[in-house]
């Protein structure tokens, strides 16, 4: 086996394929994330705008940004994490780029994203 085949074999065999709804930068999503506290497990929701999807394969991550008490909070989730319970896509946004970091500088009305018309 060559290098690519070996890595693919390990990833295919030992990493569970996660299937989530399709979303991209500009969409508003809710990530239901499992949190372990000691022996107990609970689910925390993180709702915000997707800034980017980065990487590929099992190394893919996505960044979600929300405004919490006037402070911007960003969280990076591994897309293949077993801790993600589910992902809801709340809104489909229309943006022109794949990574919308310009959103970080915008506040209030300017930070709105046009919703996709279905």
């Amino acid at each position: 086996m060559n290098r690519a085949e070996t890595i693919k074999y390990v990833e295919d065999t030992y990493i569970e394929k996660r299937v989530f709804p399709v979303f991209k930068a500009g969409d508003t999503i809710t990530v239901h994330y499992k949190i372990k506290e000691g022996t107990k497990e609970r689910i925390q929701n993180f709702q915000g705008v997707v800034l980017q999807r980065s990487g590929k394969g099992i190394n893919q991550t996505f960044t979600v940004r929300k405004i919490s008490g006037n402070i911007g909070v960003e969280r990076i989730f591994p897309a293949s994490s077993p801790f993600i319970d589910k992902i809801d896509v709340n809104k489909k946004g229309v943006v022109r780029r794949a990574r919308i970091f310009y959103l970080r500088k915008l506040r209030g009305k300017k930070a709105r994203i046009r919703e996709e018309r279905v």
Partner: protein
Amino acid sequence: MTSIYDGNGKNIPCTIIEAGPCIVTQLRTKEHDGYEAIQMAFEDQKEKHTTRAMKGHFAKAGVTPKKVIAEFTRFEADHQKVFGDILRVDIFTEGEFIDVVGTSKGKGFQGVVKRHHFHGVGEATHGQHNRLRAPGSVGASSWPSRVFPGIRMAGRMGGKKVKVINLQVVKIILEKNLVLVKGAVPGANNSYVIIERYL
């Protein structure tokens, strides 16, 4: 490298090492060679790329020609290895700690900041303009009138034997002879490494 998730859902960076099957091709003995060691070979080589001398060596051990040969001293004291014995990854256990020896990637001719972690000048002010990463003084003047041996200077970096100790074995894949080790190992992709374990 890749990464896998452990039982707690933690993402662990892993290096995949193909470890075996390794075949014992020679036993060095105190009487004959002056030291005790086991010689092992790994990975098939085309017969036309093998020298006649090596062909004879492999024929003696009864194996097909191999690419890599390494000798291991300080093997388990009570080993009973003989010609043609095959070692596979099942000699490792998940969770144990191993050392990995490899040849580091060559970095070419590098300055002292990269090669020896000198700090450089630090700032471009106080009259500096072109000596930001210079090594500084290499010794005194009229005595000794020379530079002492061993002063760290710029030069070739990398391409040397490096051992990384205490890497954890994350997973063993018996059917493909793969060992997943937590963290990085020395060397480029597809290079050969030696795995050591001290009991």
